[in-house]
Symmetry: C2
């Protein structure tokens, strides 16, 4: 079977490219060209039958990923299914199942069967869960088995922390906060325990063969992403990034689609530089960023701290934004956290698309402005990212206001600037 | 009586400068110099006896303003007092009473008596409330009376929309959304009705005399701030800004402290340019911005859309951020909205301070990183902007997890990267 990348470099437009292009209001050839240069990905495992293909890359609308999945003790398949449906209805573009613990194949099968979005995983989680917390039981063979099984199940993209090498571990340990990637930390401990190289890196050719066979898009994980502002843009982060850049080329040689994962926690003023550096070092591969969080001091509000960073990241070149929920750093997200995370990230993605001048992006804002000018509240709610929440706030205020419904309780009728502006316009 | 500006240009350090400098960890001379050049303000009406002076300017920590105040039908003095106390305890630096309707003197007296923060108003609101919605009853004399009474009461800073001139009104009417400033819209309708110039502009010298006498800081209002992305950075906005620049100089000539208010709704990519333009056109006067909101499509979440813009604004030079609450565009904010608005804006202000390299700003983040490294949850909650919310989320997750308390429910004990990192560090 040929991957979408192979079709693209041969100049063939596939049904998946056509389908994805229709959602972007661009031609299928535009999608094909962006895939051929490697600056876009179209994660699309043929075994994922429910999939409606989505393209991610700088030429296209900025996409939002929702992480779901149970932890060892919290949540269940049923709860995670609810989170999936919430993520889809709130407008997520991609979803990742980060479940750990037992019966991971079953929960993934249930989620994949219901999921119309590109579906991602982190295979080291299953490998480590199977190893039962024993380093000796974590093997390269075990990892390859997991990757193959997940590919056969229909996983569209996989995070592989293959760029974190043995030589990077001392750099990471010297940091303020060390390693904050779950996968990165497990691999670092394994390498340190056995004084051996990263098993994903060492078996890369075998992994490539599986990914090429099932058209699994590789998401090159950043095991050394900074976990606090002090660790941002340091030698550990950029040493790993250099290896990720090499692996992008090895993916392309193997006909495999690749994107690159990025930080993390980054001061606002370093975001542009980080985006430019990835583009250069990683040969234009799409950048898939987690936030970044722009201050460490607001646990409980990291959907906000990170939406700030995500807007800047997307404006400066990131193509896929991994949401962060209000529970980040504190607890496994609830269904409501999922909804709040998606809303914050749709704001970030859209604000960036408007700012970078993506054709047609501002039309949505213009329609909202027109609904505001005509004080058409129902239209405002139907256009809003979350109209239900907007309506509830409006109604709560209105209950205290007398008279008709052509104003809101913020200013009241006599102080409504939009009404005054309307009178002025009529006079002209 | 001499204003803080007059003292500063004479080289005198006042008790207010000393008090403000202590909160910034800078010398009183640093505050004095910044006041003397007009690049900082220290709103400080001697009649406001409860005031603990705060300085705003690019050399200092970015400040957050909370708008409170009742509308004609909603809320009461008691509810607004609660909002004030919430704003203070949540960490607001400035507060404005935007109340309209009757008995405004009484509510202001109650708020001022409890308010340790610089306290601002918009006098046109009281003048228009007294005029009872009749254009004929709104007069320059009436406006001056309100300004004098409020100055005598102890108001530290006042928004005066004196830069919106008659010639600007046609530009504003041609816009997509027209005028969205309450004060700006009232003045525009008045000018249009009587074909006369802005009464604030025409009586500027009398206003200056009152402000100089009571050391009221002028906040030059932007009556033509854009109310949607489509209207941002247009001829109306910048024509008014030019007049605000002239008025900054007239304030300085009169010995009056001045800052300038700014947009509004601005695409993310235009924020830096807007900050630079204000600095140049307004002779370095501190920029006091409302957000800006970076997309129009998220009513109910405008604390987030605007915290994104506010971070960029402060990073690029704004000194005072006017918060926006989740009720913006929909209803009068509740007490909980006030709290949410402040938290979002403290995040924006601090993230910008770290990014622009304000000395010592990142220490807070570093202490949080250290608390995370040592898995010291109590320390994390005590350092958090809103520790109560952080603790509640953590506890909710923990209730499902077995065992000790050195991890959270997000990853669980076996997948905790911070624990793994700790083991690696110990091995070295």
């Amino acid at each position: 079977m040929k991957t979408q990348y192979c079709h693209a470099i041969e100049g063939t437009v596939t049904p998946a490219m056509k389908s994805a292009s229709a959602r972007e209001s661009v031609s299928a050839e535009t999608v094909m060209s962006a895939l051929a240069t490697g600056e876009a990905v179209l994660p699309c495992n043929p075994a994922h039958v429910r999939l409606e293909p989505v393209v991610a890359g700088r030429l296209f609308r900025t996409k939002v990923n929702a992480n779901i999945g149970r932890s060892a003790y919290c949540s269940s398949t049923g709860e995670e299914l609810l989170k999936l449906l919430t993520a889809v209805s709130a407008g997520a573009d991609f979803v990742m199942d980060l479940s750990v613990g037992s019966d991971l194949g079953d929960i993934r099968r249930s989620l994949l069967a219901e999921c119309p979005l590109p579906f991602g995983t982190v295979p080291i989680y299953e490998a480590w869960s199977r190893a039962g917390g024993s380093m000796a039981s974590l093997t390269a063979t075990g990892l390859i088995d997991v990757i193959r099984e997940q590919a056969e199940q229909g996983v569209d993209f996989m995070t592989l922390h293959a760029g974190l090498l043995k030589k990077h571990v001392p750099m990471a340990i010297r940091r303020r906060l060390g390693i904050v990637s779950r996968g990165g930390a497990i691999l670092a401990e394994w390498m340190s325990t056995y004084d051996r190289e990263n098993p994903l890196y060492e078996t890369w050719d075998s992994i490539m063969a599986i990914c090429a066979e099932h058209d699994v898009t590789v998401s090159l994980g950043d095991g050394l992403r900074p976990g606090c502002l002090a660790d941002a843009s340091d030698e550990a982060q950029f040493a790993e990034l250099d290896v990720l850049g090499e692996l992008v080329l090895r993916c392309r040689e193997a006909g495999v689609q690749a994107m690159v994962e990025g930080p993390g926690h980054v001061p606002f003023g370093q975001i542009a530089m980080n985006m430019e550096r990835e583009r250069e070092v990683c040969h234009g591969a799409p950048f898939y960023v987690l936030g970044p969080v722009v201050t460490d001091v607001a646990p409980g509000y990291d959907h906000i701290t990170s939406a700030i960073g995500a807007t800047a990241a997307a404006f400066h070149g990131a193509s896929l934004l991994c949401y962060v929920t209000p529970s980040e750093h504190l607890a496994l997200p609830t269904e409501d956290d999922v909804r709040q995370g998606i809303v914050a990230y749709r704001i970030a993605a859209h604000a960036a698309d408007v700012a970078r001048g993506l054709p047609g992006a501002r039309d949505w804002d213009d329609r909202m402005a027109d609904a505001r000018r005509s004080l058409d509240w129902q239209k405002q709610f139907s256009l809003a990212i979350d109209g239900q929440t907007a309506r509830a706030r409006y109604e709560r205020g209105r209950s205290q206001e007398p008279g008709d419904s052509d104003h809101c309780s913020m200013c009241g009728r006599d102080f409504c600037a939009v009404r005054t502006s309307g009178r002025l316009r009529e006079k002209q």
